[in-house]
Subunit: 173 residues, 2 copies
Amino acid sequence: MSKLMNIIRARRSTRAFRGELPPKEQILQLVEAAEWAPSGMGKFLWHFTVVYSADKSLKLARAVDAAMNRGPDYNFYGAPVNIIISYKRDERHALPDGAAAMENLLLMATELGLGSCWINQLRDCCDDPGVRALLTGYGVPEDHIVVCSAAIGYIDKETPAKPRRADVMTWTE
Amino acid sequence: MSKLMNIIRARRSTRAFRGELPPKEQILQLVEAAEWAPSGMGKFLWHFTVVYSADKSLKLARAVDAAMNRGPDYNFYGAPVNIIISYKRDERHALPDGAAAMENLLLMATELGLGSCWINQLRDCCDDPGVRALLTGYGVPEDHIVVCSAAIGYIDKETPAKPRRADVMTWTE
């Protein structure tokens, strides 16, 4: 199997992280990978906000819980790092561009041996006042929506692969 | 630079393809890579429709032109293969899931030395009757929307890298 296919197939949604921070150098590589994703019409109107702090990550999780009633255990799976992908509001390519960037970021985390989990809740609650105040404090531009975020850290518990569905391809020639 | 970062940074939007069909085996690898993308809530409600024919690809491009008035040169850059990523209609994660799958597909094409270009037009016109009739004939499920498609083939003319914007990251700790 090719090197890339191995990485693609090895990526998992980590749901239990250890508390230690990975090296900053590795986190910067994740952002670099994300930046090299394609962007519709070459707009690249995204922003990457790195929360490199277990305390600040937990504070954000608590605000998401307050906005969406996710329950007291909602904590981004204990990840000490979160990377928020935001995009200029009202841009047609916001979701696809942000998602492509996220996939690059997750693959790079996999290659580096870091755990990662794609988090969708901030897409739903980024305009809640309590959440937005934190986002703004952390550096998310005020005219941006959040597309998604990634929980990042060392893996505490491995996640098994989810089987893929059969019959997802049609071939015509 | 890591192997993966090299692939991520080498991916380009090819805009001039040669006419020959790449081996089927390689096209199947692209779909396999796409299938191993993450999917929100583990739904995986996507479908991959491979159009492995220069004639059928051109016919689809002509239908898109008819629907959107793109002009007589609109031909998916002459790519003999197109892979259509569709997703069950009215699903919240359709765009991000489809885009993550697309990014895997494009990276795999890059590793294999194939050219690729992310095409957005089918997202806009997949419900045009002329376009939809072709899509259905090629195998796109009738209850799906098209998220995007990829033009695939051998590269006729290299594309230079687009510079990335500076100041797209904020770091807080």
